[in-house]
């Protein structure tokens, strides 16, 4: 009796699986069609499109931008506003993560090898990050890459067992997180207040203002990425962390 019902259930399950497979196949065929259409359109767009697009213009205006790396020029000058909002996106994500509660405890005790690695990898990453930031003005690199490297240092520290990922206490950390948007916004609004227009750098100051913004952005990006990896609001005190840890450990 139970055997037959089991078998019936298995059969039903198999049928459901089959249906799901059929459905996903059907979807696959439809999407393949979509892909073909997209390819055709993309070809048409490339073929009939406005070939140089913004390339020539962006490169031609490069000397006025205050930096030598065209991508940095676009990021922090031509389309600086995008970058500002993007930093806000990062901030929103971290604040969103924080709003969901305190961070889970660091779940790994550091092995000797890892701890040894931290002692030389982290300084290396910090130096590399600084280099990346500086070099971004005229060669590949810039705030994002630098911030990512610095953030990666934080991730490694966290992996090595420090639950804070090397980040300071909450109050300071908050300032680090907002630093990018804050400096960007203040520079932009300051320029507006002095008549240059929002985010319109005077050519003479452009290089330094961009460096200032990029430095702040680097710190903010690094802090945000590390904080995102921590995965929650920093715990208020050491004692609280210990409590949490003792609760969850067997």
């Amino acid at each position: 009796m139970t055997q037959t019902s089991d078998r019936a259930r298995q059969r039903a399950q198999a049928r459901a699986q089959e249906r799901a497979r059929d459905l996903s196949l059907l979807l696959g065929v439809l999407l393949a069609l979509l892909g073909a259409v997209l390819l055709g359109l993309y070809y048409l767009a490339l073929d009939g499109g406005a070939a140089p697009r913004l390339a020539e213009l962006a490169l031609a205006r490069l000397p006025e931008s205050g930096v030598g790396n065209p991508v940095t020029a676009v990021l922090v000058n031509y389309r600086a506003f995008d970058t500002l909002v993007e930093l806000a996106v990062l901030l929103a994500a971290v604040l969103g993560i924080w709003s969901l509660g305190p961070a889970p405890p660091g779940f790994q005790r550091s092995g000797a090898v890892l701890a040894g690695m931290v002692s030389w990898v982290v300084p290396l990453l910090i130096v590399a990050s600084g280099y990346m930031l500086w070099v971004g003005g005229y060669a590949p690199g810039g705030a994002f890459q630098a911030g990512a490297l610095l953030g990666a240092a934080g991730v490694i520290v966290r992996l090595a067992g420090d639950p804070t990922a090397g980040l300071p206490a909450e109050a300071t950390q908050r300032w680090l997180l907002v630093l990018g948007v804050l400096v960007f916004a203040l520079v932009g609004l300051g320029l507006m207040l002095f008549g240059a227009g929002f985010l319109t750098y005077p050519p003479k100051l452009a290089k330094w203002l961009i460096l200032l913004i990029e430095s702040a952005a680097t710190i903010a990006i690094a802090a945000a990425l590390a904080a995102a990896y921590v995965g929650g609001r920093p715990a208020p005190s050491k004692a609280a962390i210990d409590d949490y840890g003792s609760d969850s450990s067997p």
Partner: protein
């Protein structure tokens, strides 16, 4: 073989690998494996972008997309695996 043709073949291999990695990442049902494949995909993607003269983006993708994104996903995958294990334990005990 002429140089453009060689380059084209090189491009084709690059892209085929990229698509294969993506397909593997998408099809892998095991979380940790999927994330590993995704990281590989991201790194390969940055390689392709370097080939397309986009070193800035390639760096960023390697560091942020594949690196940090991958690390985040890996942690999540580990958590998921642990949760699944503890659920199994509960079920067993």
């Amino acid at each position: 073989m002429s140089q453009p043709a060689l380059l084209l073949a090189f491009d084709a291999v690059l892209l085929a690998t990229l698509l294969a990695l993506a397909l593997a990442a998408v099809l892998s049902p095991e979380p940790r494996r999927a994330v590993m494949l995704f990281i590989a995909f991201g790194l390969w993607l940055s390689l392709v972008w370097a080939r397309l003269h986009a070193p800035d983006v390639a760096l960023a993708e390697a560091a942020i997309g594949a690196g940090l994104g991958g690390a985040l996903m890996l942690a999540a995958a580990r958590r998921a695996a642990r949760a699944a294990r503890s659920n199994d334990d509960e079920a067993a005990g």
